[in-house]
Subunit: 255 residues, 2 copies
């Protein structure tokens, strides 16, 4: 658990949660349990995703994956353990208990069949056959947990409806942007930058934004998505500088 | 998820939760979300336990295990999905929100490193080398979730300290009883009764109550454990007839 959690990574999801707190004028530090819980869940999903029966990846963040380092049995349990610890941690999140429960409900929905696990299932069951299905697959597999990173803070802070809607539009768009850039980097990045072998999507025969639309059009789609995300932020109002910075980073990142 | 969840099973844990509600004079039906969440977690743990990288079992409850039926990737995800749905369900448990959170905290602790997953890790990392270590392994691997089946209801109902202590003594003893009987049945049961091949412990080279103490002494230990469990129930007071019935069933079961 410690090995995979502390192997690095961009910490996009917890930072999104903290930046959302700041945007709402709240003290980000108060949201550390929820933010960390989300990172634990993300890490658990990577460990299980990398397993031989799933994507069978040997490298993650430039280090041997958990099952290569510790064996498959320990890797499965490390993922299970991280998930359980995430829930335990979330139960300690300060806030009005009904809101903590509602936020945890959103997080578990984003993790389960209606989110990450559901998307992974679609992926292993054959993947997406057309652009519309690809968008839905990504929305489930990565989008919902990214959206929940903002969503849990919006719920905990009982943000008003107009801001909530604008922030949620931003979150949904950010999930799409993240995926388009991921697909581009899998083709253009170096092994060191990615911390894993390039071209993994193609080897797994996956439909991606690049395989569907070509590299040039995928880059245009990323720019359009980035523009929609920042427009949503303007509608949300508040101290959104950090969130804007994250969107810019996701758009321009090379790792 | 549906296949493994509806394959049968004794439903010991949810029935324990409902019987605890009755013992406290509460309406059992109100605790169905929590009780079902516990069964979902138990089922997820069986699916992951049966995987080739873990116990590599082909049969469970008389049917092919999830990975035999659907493939390893789908089985891993089915376990993950059941866990997430369990949490979502628990968030909908009626009750005072601070108590629901405290109960969910106990359940996630019983599931994670400080319970089931921790015990499974000790098991795959070499198992128990002596009776004391065996008791601790079982306490983690099966005892904590059985204890939490009562524990979450005690927390939700804000049971007083004397009853809580007596019920918790009962729960701890029940976990031990359950395991001793399990070890005995693995030697004496038929494949049909067990729903899986007999002698699985011996084939996996596991230390058990039978391998440690012999069959006759294991049976005596079970009787002593049953007596301690029913004594704890008498101390607890309330409508404990159903809980007593479960202890008797666990003691005398042959499947």
């Amino acid at each position: 658990m410690r090995y995979s959690l502390l192997a690095g990574g961009k910490r996009v999801r917890p930072v999104l949660a903290l930046a959302t707190a700041r945007a709402l004028g709240a003290d980000p530090e108060r949201f550390l349990p929820a933010a960390c819980a989300i990172e634990l869940i993300h890490t658990y999903s990577l460990i299980h995703d990398d397993l031989p029966a799933m994507d069978d990846d040997d490298l993650r963040r430039g280090k041997p994956t958990a099952h290569v380092q510790f064996g498959e049995d320990v890797a499965i349990l490390a993922g299970d353990g991280l998930f359980a610890e995430a829930i335990r941690l979330f139960c300690e999140q300060p806030g009005e208990p009904p809101r903590v429960l509602a936020a945890l409900r959103e997080l578990s929905t984003a993790t389960g069949l209606g989110g990450m696990v559901g998307g992974q299932y679609v992926d292993v069951a054959g993947g997406a056959a057309d652009p519309e299905a690809l968008r839905e697959l990504h929305s489930l597999k990565t989008g919902r947990l990214i959206a929940a990173s903002l969503g849990v803070v919006l719920i905990l802070e009982a943000a008003g409806e107009p801001e909530t809607m604008a922030f949620r539009r931003f979150a949904d768009e950010l999930g799409i942007l993240f995926q388009i850039v991921d697909d581009i980097l899998d083709v253009t990045g170096s092994d060191e930058q990615l911390g894993k072998p390039r071209g993994s999507d193609e080897r797994h025969g996956k439909l991606t934004y690049v395989s569907l639309f070509g590299l040039e059009r995928a880059r245009e789609l990323a720019a359009e998505s980035h523009a929609r995300a920042t427009a949503a932020l303007s509608d949300a109002g508040g101290e959104t500088g950090d969130l804007r910075g994250i969107a810019d980073y996701i758009f321009t990142r090379n790792e």
